[in-house]
Amino acid sequence: MSARSEPPWFQQARDDGGLVVSDPPKFDLDSYIANYKGKTRIARLLHIGQTSSYLSNDALRLAISEAREGKDVELYLRVVKVFHEIFPEDPVSQTDTNWVDRVQREADAESRRLEAELRGYKNNLIKESIRMAYDDMGRHYQHIGALGEAVKNFNKEREYCQLPAHIAIMVNRLINAHIEQNSWISVEANVQKLRGLPQKPGEGEKLEAKLSAAQGLAELSTQQYRRAALTLLDCNPRMIQSRLEDTAADESYGEVITPNDIASYGALCALASMNRTELQKNVLDNTKFRNYLELEPHLRRAVSSFVAGKYSQCLDILSAHRTDYILDLYLSPHYDQLVSMIRNKAIVQYFVPFSKVTFSALATAFKTNEDDIIESLTELIGSYSLPATLDLEDGLLVANTAETRAEMFKAAMGAGQDYEKVLQSRLLRFAVSNANLDISSPKQQGVGNGTGAGDLLMGREYNAKGKGKPTKGFF
């Protein structure tokens, strides 16, 4: 392949704060992408092309040829544009306008044909045909990239579904369309909907894994890491078995996510959000999830290290695989944050048994220098995650000792003072009202019109016209 010197586009991307990796990943691009089917292949290849300077050319070429086999004109144009920005001299980066026009025309023709069919079926009032027509239209629009239209049609399909199986198909399509749109709230909503519907026993199980995967993905993308962990750790392992037998099988979810992804997302989210006992129980002792975790043995080692308190080992494994994870379409925007959460947790957990620790010991334990560890500690203390203070004179991290009796006394006195204040205010408010000493604007001021304590209770103060208005003041 062409020289591995980095195209200038990537340096620019780095300067703009984008994520870029330059090392070769641990996976082989072709076998990696073979695990996925459908349009996600293009999306993933596009992501890799924009993130990895090493794989960019190969990934984007593949993306273009994939796009040309599809019918989504906009996606094709987007991929070509990116390719052109990064590799302006490469001949492949020229837009094939013939192709674009042809596919556009075909797509429009197909749309019109389907709409005509639909009208025909509607006239005949055959529910089943109408349903299938909406389904075809939805899928057509999804193929050509008109996701809004696709979703509309799938939603319209709803009222023509008569069997639970129909509904299941329709909601599945909806979920996939929403995933493609990155509308995560809709994804979660539809998963809940489908979960609530009764299914035939065999069918239900098949669906389960897909639903958990979709839900977990949505939760990850909306940064609900703990919930994502719990969802994914509970995912039904059927998906693995079916995929091993036939990657094109219905049960594999290759159009969205692979079992390896489920393992990665689940393990990482768990590491970032659970403490060591929970990790032991929910990850290592979890028989269901074990099937997934076996697919990513290094993550199992990472979790075991963390549980055993070998934090630097765990962090080493995570940083060794960083490139791979940054190249994953859904994990990429969250990876660094997850690792930083894991690291912070590790620091806090490390300190739990101590009352004092030197900075140098901490720095060694986390394989960094003292300044770096001090910075992390400052951040942790400032965010109230670490109950300690820094002794920069002696180079120590010192735990906060609670003088419980003094604090309790202070709290009790404080409560007493608040009580005093509130009561005093109430008494004064009553006295003021009773004596008609409320402040009123001049035209309202009534003197001696016989209002008394009872009106206070009703919360009213009578003005000269005798109408009641609620007053506030003195708590």
Partner: protein
Amino acid sequence: MTDPSLSVEALASAITNAEPHTFTPLHSHIVYEALQTKSYTAVLPVLDNDIYKITGDNSARSDGASPTQPLFSHALTSTVKIRYQEVVSYFLYGGMIYLAVGNYDRAILFFELATVYPANNTASKIQVEAYKKWILINLFHNGKLPSLARHLGGQHHRILTSLAKPYEAVVEAFQNPDAKRLAETVNIGQAIWAQDLNTGLISLVLRAHQRFAISSLSKIYRSIPIKKVHQLAFSASTTHNEVYEYIANLIASGQLSATLTVPGSDSGNAFLRFTSPGTEGPNVENQRIQLAIIQQTKINIINEYVKEMTHTLQMSRPYLESLHKSKKKNPGGDPSNNGAANLGIGASQYLAEDEDEYLEAL
């Protein structure tokens, strides 16, 4: 030449010999006199005696029931009607007196009472002045502002905040650790502070900002080099020595509980070590017990006044009417329970025994 504070002393003794915890027309006189003659010590006993009732000419009640508040029998006051301005300005002036003697907690309480004094869709200018001072002392003494919004009616609150806008700007600038911003904001409002006679308070606030910047460091650092304090809490234009001197003064005056350690003779490497305020001495438990007893006595006194107020409320006509109505709706219901729930002060044990008489009379 008579000692001007004599008048204050005379008023003070008259008030303290009269009914305790009760506001009289004398109160507004005495705070005014005290401020005019700068005789603060004489008036403190009056101020320290919290107000729970107001006396004076209680207007005749339409239901003909006898007034439940005993009238102040002094000839000077029994025929004088109190106006609200007297009560509100009592709190404002009282707060200012506490300020003058350095009792900031009581000052804050007084300004707050003036500010939240009941106002019907309006606010008095006296309240606005009290509000402004309340803001400034809270900043200076506590470093932050408690929220008053829920104690104030909408219009009342709006008037206060709009008239005190420059002060709210100071609050915002104060939250920012950058001292320059605060200095600028203060500078812009020079004329306003002068007109409101708040320049003294403003300068206290400025000094406090620096103080809080340093003491907030104690949340993260147990011991920190002065160089770093300089970097984090002071503007770049101050010299190292200035920082050192300032901190030393803070510690010496007791406003910061910390120690300075200087290795060698060079103050350049000095460290500031925060300590907890007041190490526990052997007498601390006794002191705590004393404080708790004082507070308990005070609360007991307040509770007595609350009982009286509750009784008055329950004897009032509109309340009895409503009880009667609800009794009609719920013939089997227990009226005393309704009463207690309405009052919310756990008052069921204070209900008068002869209530039924009144109910039947309606």
